[in-house]
């Protein structure tokens, strides 16, 4: 069942983005930036965790989960060490994704030729 929910929830989040693009003529940078803020907002009421529990990758794969993970890591560290933990834990949960994106983007740029 989680496979169906992953498909439906992930698809719906993308449809919201598509409608925003078509209706308000937003650029892709505007869409992704606002989705990240939306993810962080949803995390502040623990709503996003419930969505991940319900839809699995359907909530983890869209970029909204990036905002959720940033805030989540920050709050986890803040509960351990206090106020400074917000800054110390900010990238805790997203570090592997950002590292991978930098490494792969750099390697692809080195070994591939630009198309078109």
């Amino acid at each position: 069942m989680i496979y169906l929910y992953a498909f439906l929830v992930g698809g719906l989040i993308c449809v919201i983005g598509q409608i925003l693009i078509d209706r308000f003529k937003l650029t892709s940078a505007h869409i992704t930036a606002s989705f990240v803020v939306a993810g962080a907002l949803l995390d502040s009421f623990d709503l996003y965790d419930k969505l991940i529990e319900f839809a699995g990758a359907g909530a983890q794969v869209p970029i909204t989960s990036f905002g959720h993970s940033l805030l989540h890591g920050a709050m986890e560290k803040a509960n351990e060490v206090g106020f400074l933990g917000i800054g110390m834990g900010m990238f805790d949960m997203t570090a592997s994704g950002i590292t991978a994106a930098i490494i792969f983007a750099f390697l692809v740029a080195v070994f591939f030729r630009p198309k078109g």
Binding site: V9, G11, T64, A74
Partner: protein, 146 residues
Amino acid sequence: MIINYDKSIKKNAWKPKYLRNSIRAFVSGGSICLFGQILLKLYELAGFEKEETGSLMIVTLILIASLLTGIGVFDKIGQWAGAGSLVPVTGFANSMTSAALEYKKEGLVLGVATNLFKLAGAVITFGVVSAYILGMLRYLIENFVL
């Protein structure tokens, strides 16, 4: 007749585009997430812990998106899928790889490295700023109000 003609033009010019694009975004975005869910299961079967499977799944999707961008396939998928390939983490990887490739001719340092975050920088900046403000508010409320 003329009125009908006007109506049919309006119908064909506006309505199908929204619907068509939304269906494409739904199917492609949903499929990427379904693929992610299958990856989660495969990594779980391979014996990884629950926290590790999530990171591994995201990293795998980023690797695939970067490679597809490198061979020029991602742009074709993106033209069809619209937000369906932009909103998942694949769009984040694509924006970094395509920016790096585009400026390759200006050299590794001034071209690739400085332009890597040209498009993805917005995501990280807004993510960190909003998460910091929200985290600060939540910390203050949890510790001094409640």
